[in-house]
Amino acid sequence: MSLMDSLAAGFSLVGNFEAFFMLFVGLVVGVVAGAIPGLSATMAVALTLPFTFAMTPINAILLLLGVYKGGIFGGSIPAILIKTPGTPASSATILDGHPMAERGEAGRALGMALYASCTADAVSNLALILFAGWLASFALNFGPPEFFALILFSLTIIAGVSGESLLRGALSALAGLLLATIGLDLVYGTNRFTFGNPNMMGGLNFIAVLIGLFAIPEIINMAWNPVAHLGRTRALGKSRCSWADYKNSFKTIIRGSMIGVFLGSIPGIGAAPSAFLSYSEARRTSKNKENFGKGEIEGVAASEAGNNGVAGATLIPLLALGVPGDVITAIIIGAFMVHGLQPGPMMFILNVDIIYGLFIGLIVSSVFLLIVGSVAIRGFRFVADLPKRILMPGVLILCIYGVFAVNNNIFDVGVMFVMGWVGYIMMRNRIPAAPFLIAFILGPLLEDNFRQAMLMSGSDPSILFRGPITWFFWFLTFVTVFAITRSTLRKKVPLS
């Protein structure tokens, strides 16, 4: 199929009101959810997922991508106004955005956040369109040993989402891998940790586990401290982001976008490290470096470009290799699977219309984000004023309906509650949930490909090093492990 044929096929899927409407609705939901502290973009995508079951695959994925992109931008609104990042990705935006709000320049900071986000989003989408197809055609040469090496490499990058302690991140990932062993054995079909319960033979439901891990702990935390969220909102002020502001920060925005694209295309790193790296690079090279941290608009541009640059790029490994780039794309992989699609190189052959439909939708999403974001900046007050002690019970019943709807099974609701308490205990003990979820998704793939490789070779482990592709991923794995070990040791023994 030629490029024009593929584009035409994509247009035939998304060239209707419903598809663009879903994308728009997704962006609105994402921005609103991102703007409510405690209701992260991850949670918003997870809660939206059950609503997509009755939709066509393209509309469902566009809705979720809209929520994802809207959520990442929406997180900057409370970060600037009430010094509370709506999403972890917006943490860097606080550094300069909030001091600007304190000076009465909240409107200018939010405007820059929006323009930087839209520009970075467009750059990121372009990178996805240019590189995903190329990577997928390369990945067609992959067999089980190559996939095993790739997934092992992806697991090592869990270090990036481990937060403050690598050991606690590793513990979380191991718990996810162990939980993924529940169900029938992939080769022999024997029971593993099913305790004779037929509901557990297919393994634990992915949606129940992820909603349990990400949404329910917030509700439990609300029971623990119902007044923790109370904060003071600030006025927008009369200042606005001017063309001169945008032009002066353009170089920073493009650099931040590139950093976002690069880090986003590596599975497991996510938006927050990208935002901080972009911010530190902007500070290092800026003429106004002494103003950073005190309300420098270039700092807002850098951090927002860094985190939004990740959004499109995380879809590169997802679409090309079937490997989630971060937690949200891990949920979106679940959406693909729910709709009978398997992301990966074969999707570029079997479902090329969906791939190109998504590309078209993503290009349009940058324009929609500009519109939705402009309105959201003015209307944020209504969002921020939603009483959280009514919102959270609403989230609880939404979780119950949503999780039940996946398989029409009450058992899944129970799994969600149990995982919610597990997630809460992890939260209280500062164990990050993201490595758990990524390992839960990648675990069965890792084991499956390992055992397939062993079956192919008659249990000869040398097949895992059979060619340049496996060597490449083993090399990356060793380099990453070396870098992680070195940085951990440096943290432990600080240089004076």
Binding site: L171, L178, N191, R192, F404, F417
Partner: protein, 165 residues
């Protein structure tokens, strides 16, 4: 709590869980056909590998706790964790609500159970808008029922008492 204390507790817990897996859970609850000649292909192999790695991480946590010099509490300890017994009571009450939801779903039906759960949670969280909470508790489950039952075609449990159209 300091990082040292946290890692000590987590390390001990992790090692105990790993030993439980190796000596009891995996032999008892993972079944392997008797004709599997090579351990690498056995259904037992992967769980044992993971349990072994868990021991290593547990020991790593213990080693970190023992060798760590600083014993200062985490900075946000006070703000995140309020003192007194009321938070524990609320946690217990929320756990009871969840158990009652599981009991109520097949008997009362999802809509009525969700209404009660919504209202109970709102009052548990000490809402300052009780009237709005009750209104939302009635409307939100009905709207969700309308969407899932009539748009998405999901067979929402109706319970044994009042059935919705």
């Amino acid at each position: 709590m300091s990082e040292k204390t946290l890692h000590l507790r987590l390390g001990i817990f992790t090692c105990l869980v790993a030993l439980f897996l190796i000596f009891y859970a995996i032999p008892s609850f993972v079944f392997s056909p008797s004709n599997v000649g090579n351990i690498i292909l056995s259904p037992l192999f992967w769980p044992y590998v993971l349990a072994g790695l868990t021991v290593i991480v547990g020991l790593g946590l213990l080693a970190n706790a023992v060798t760590s010099a600083k014993d200062t509490p985490f900075e946000d300890e006070e703000t995140v964790h309020p003192e007194g017994s009321a938070p524990w009571m609320r946690l217990g009450a929320l756990a009871v609500i969840m158990v009652l939801v599981m009991v109520g779903l097949p008997t009362l039906g999802m809509v009525w159970t969700a209404m009660l759960a919504f209202a109970a949670c709102a009052f548990l969280f000490r809402t300052r808008h009780p009237v709005a909470a009750v209104v939302c508790a009635v409307i939100a489950p009905l709207l969700l029922y309308a969407f899932f039952a009539h748009v998405a075609g999901v067979a929402i449990p109706q319970g044994n008492f009042v059935r919705l159209p």
